[in-house]
Amino acid sequence: MHLAVTDLACARGGLPVLTGVSFRLEAGQALILRGPNGVGKTTLLRTLAGLQPAMAGEVDFPADEGAYASHADGVKLTLSVTENLAFWAAVHGRQLDDAALAAFDLTGLRDRMAGTLSAGQKRRLGLARLAVIGRKVLFLDEPTVSLDRAAVGLFADFLRDQHLAQGGIAVIATHIDLGLEAPELDLTPYRAAPDAAGGSDEAFL
């Protein structure tokens, strides 16, 4: 299993944002995306996950193995923690096991309505979804926002020991240090020139 990205170009709002992005990850490898605000990390991750079409280039990974996670983590505020996770497990044809709850220190909160969680607790719930759906290729957009240091550690442990160690792949955009040994890719050099070809409005110019 691998994730191969060749010469990818992606656009947002009809404007080219990044061009010529290429990298290749084998099973068990992670990549950390870096770059200042607005460089195009979110755009790249959405393109990789197939949520928006690429302007050019190829993304290759086993079908039905990708999962995308961002700030909006699909947590229903009127469902309890277990109900939320059990739903996502069921959608992916799996069972919810307690290990996922334990990995993100949610065991004590399992019957709380998600709406009554604090910002960081809610985020942990959103991340626990990743442990539950069993997808191998993760695209994570600032996963550790509003987590405290201990929780960032939990997340890094999960990624290292439970995901990558079992042959998973992860691409992570973040501004902070995750405590994960993984190569970093700075996106600044791939920034598309504003007049780069390929925007949806190109035909008009």
Binding site: A49, G50, L51, Q52, P53, D64, G66, A67, Y68, A69, S70, H71, A72, D73, G74, V75, K76, L77, T78, L79, E83, F87, W88, A90, V91, H92, G93, R129, I133
Partner: protein, 218 residues
């Protein structure tokens, strides 16, 4: 897909009741009509079939924008799109959940509310049948409209505007069936047409709605 249906039903019940409220709106429109039109019984009997259908339609309409909007806001929709469910299936389940929480209770309550409007008793079975056959089409068409407007901030009213003309055939056939029933004529042809519209909607609209969702998720 079952999991999705169960979750949607649970959410509808938790969050203060999709059930109760659609129904309550139906009741209230029916109650408002005599206040507006005046209490003459002959007039009310005459307009009862039509008003019941219009009220059912408006009640269904009011809850449409939530079919996808909430799931879009909190990101669930993007996650569902990358989950191993066909998006057409998601649309179908969403329409089914909407019908179960709105159309079905409406249909069951309509005979009772018919009494408020002096609906003639012969019309009641036809009312049940035409609403039972027609409201699934309302939910499916509504899901299509909701898929078109899901990304928009003020989608609610725009959604009504898009969906209402699409409701016209269902409304005409449905109300016609009840009116004919009330006059003692045979209402079967109208009823068959309602069924035809519903079948057509379920055959075609999931694909259109899924396409619209994909565009909106980009």
């Amino acid at each position: 897909m079952i999991a999705l249906l169960i979750r949607d039903l649970r959410l509808a019940i938790r969050a203060g009741g999709g059930f109760g409220l659609g129904l309550a709106f139906f009741l209230i429109v029916i109650v408002l009509v005599p206040f507006g039109v005046g209490p003459e019984r002959a007039v009310l009997t005459r307009i009862a079939p039509g008003m019941l259908w219009v009220a059912a339609l408006l009640a269904a309409l009011l809850s449409l924008d939530r079919i996808f909007a909430l799931d879009h806001e909190d990101g669930s929709l993007a996650l569902l799109a990358t989950a191993p469910l066909p998006l057409e299936g998601v649309v179908l389940v969403k329409a089914a959940a909407h019908w179960l929480t709105t159309g079905l209770p409406l249909t069951l309550a309509a005979p009772v509310l018919g009494i408020l409007l002096n609906l003639s008793p012969e019309a009641t079975p036809w009312l049940l049948a035409s609403l039972g056959l027609g409201t699934p089409a309302l939910s499916m068409i509504g899901a299509f409209g909701a898929a078109l407007t899901v990304g928009l901030r003020r989608g609610g009213l725009l959604l009504s505007l898009l969906v209402l003309p699409l409701y016209v055939p269902t409304l005409i056939f449905g109300a016609e069936a009840v009116r004919r029933g009330a006059e003692g004529l045979t209402a079967l042809p109208s009823l068959a047409l309602v069924g035809g519209v519903t079948a057509g909607c379920f055959a075609l609209l999931p694909f259109a709605a899924a396409a619209a969702l994909r565009v909106n998720l980009r």
